[in-house]
Amino acid sequence: MRDEDVLKEVREYVIENFLLGDEDEAFSDSESFLESGLIDSTGILEVISFLEETYRIEIADEEMIPDNLDSVERVARFVVSKKAL
């Protein structure tokens, strides 16, 4: 699994699910979901469910931290590292 593939999929999911497909609303892959107001804590729960179902991984409570989940880049890096285990 390549970083760039996951990054693309996660980005598409965020656009589809939180921007309702509006690709004109610009955000960078490194932008904080929470600080930009793009995704709140309820939204993070949706992201976690999406990742667990799509990539067949289990995310432990202690892994649900901004370092792993607070931007497209971080999510992609986290998923790739989980799949590599």
């Binding site: 929470l34 107001g37 709140d40 804590s41 309820t42 993070i44 729960l45 949706e46 976690i48 469910s49 409570d61 202690e62 649900m64 931290i65 901004p66 370092d67 989940l69």
Partner: protein
């Protein structure tokens, strides 16, 4: 703010009589002049905030112009105690009180059934005789997102704690929000009947951080203590003669069938520390300075600051009134 100033709980001390007189004068003006109403309805929970509001209204308008409402429901873990304390308060203030049991209304709306169905989505064996609450992880001890887990206890005492799915999380909160909304509906029934206004009872922490249900306890014609930190509300309540039994009672949500503290459900620290953190954040005090007064590290205080910011973002929707597509001419 200069970091030379010593950060301590003394910063939140108020001149209670002065504050009370100011609120009372404004209450009279709002109720009698602005709204041209004859009195105020206060939902009394047996907690400190509603007791303080009832006491202020009784002093401002006269106790005969205050209608207290006690609204117990089937789930309330402290229903009997809350009712007893509410009656004690009303007696102390000389305020009339009506008890409205809202259990049947909640059953009619499907509050309990919908809540239980949402819990069963993650705990299939959850059923009759089980009790539950939802809880959040600590802000202070971890960077973990504040995502709800449900804690359920079987009639035999077996406890299960599990993370909620997005649908279950939203479903449980949506169903339990019926409680605050049905209570508000009852408050407005009595306000309409008496030609009174409805008082809301949030303190500053709750108002700022969105600890209320939109269209439920967030709905009111006036909110007399929304500018006061919770520790100031305690001091004011004591000054106004609110019974000691209420002043000494720890804050609770009293919304779920298992006992639940406000820290488990919403706030990241006990109220007095939360007050000081909010005050410090409002006054641009660096996290390291306030942390010392609270016994927290700089990192822990930073987490609390971030949590405050996050809750403010969520609260902006809760505070927003209905948005019109175009302004309506002729309305102020």
């Amino acid at each position: 703010m200069s970091t030379d100033s010593k950060i301590s709980f003394d910063l939140l001390k108020i001149d209670c009589e002065k504050v009370a007189l100011d609120i009372e004068a404004k209450l009279r003006r709002i109720v009698f002049k602005r709204f041209r109403k004859k009195g105020v309805v206060v939902g009394i929970s047996g907690g400190i905030d509603s007791s303080c509001v009832a006491a202020l209204c009784a002093r401002a308008l006269g106790p005969e112009r205050v209608q207290g409402l006690l609204m117990p429901e089937g789930d309330s873990t402290a229903s009997e105690e809350s009712t007893q304390l509410g009656k004690l308060l009303a007696e102390r203030l000389g305020v009339a009180v009506i008890t409205e049991d809202i259990t049947a209304a909640l059953e009619g709306a499907g509050c309990y059934r919908r809540r239980d169905e949402a819990v069963r989505a993650v705990i299939p064996e959850y059923g009759s005789g089980w009790k539950s609450k939802i809880v959040l992880p600590s802000v202070v001890d971890t960077d973990q997102y504040r995502i709800f887990s449900v804690v359920a206890v079987s009639p035999e005492g077996k406890e299960i704690k599990t993370r909620l799915s997005p649908a279950a999380s939203l479903g449980i909160v949506a169903a339990t929000n019926f409680k605050q909304r049905v209570r508000k509906m009852m408050e407005y029934y009595h306000a309409d009947r008496l030609n009174y206004v409805v008082a809301g009872t949030p303190n500053r922490l709750e108002y700022d951080q969105g600890f209320f249900v939109k269209g439920g306890d967030g709905l009111a014609d006036l909110k007399p203590i929304a500018h006061l930190y919770k520790s100031q509300v305690y001091a004011l309540a004591e000054h106004l003669g609110v019974p000691q039994e209420i002043c000494c009672r720890p804050p609770t949500t009293d919304t779920y069938s298992l006992p639940q503290t406000q820290e488990e459900f919403y706030f990241s620290l006990p109220y007095d520390k939360m007050d000081l953190c909010l005050w410090a954040k409002n006054h641009d005090v660096p996290a390291g300075d306030v942390g010392e007064a609270l016994g927290l590290t700089e990192e822990q205080t930073e987490r609390v600051y971030r949590d405050i910011e996050g809750k403010r973002r969520v609260a902006s929707y809760l505070h927003a009134g209905p948005v019109l597509i175009e302004p309506i001419e002729g309305l102020g």
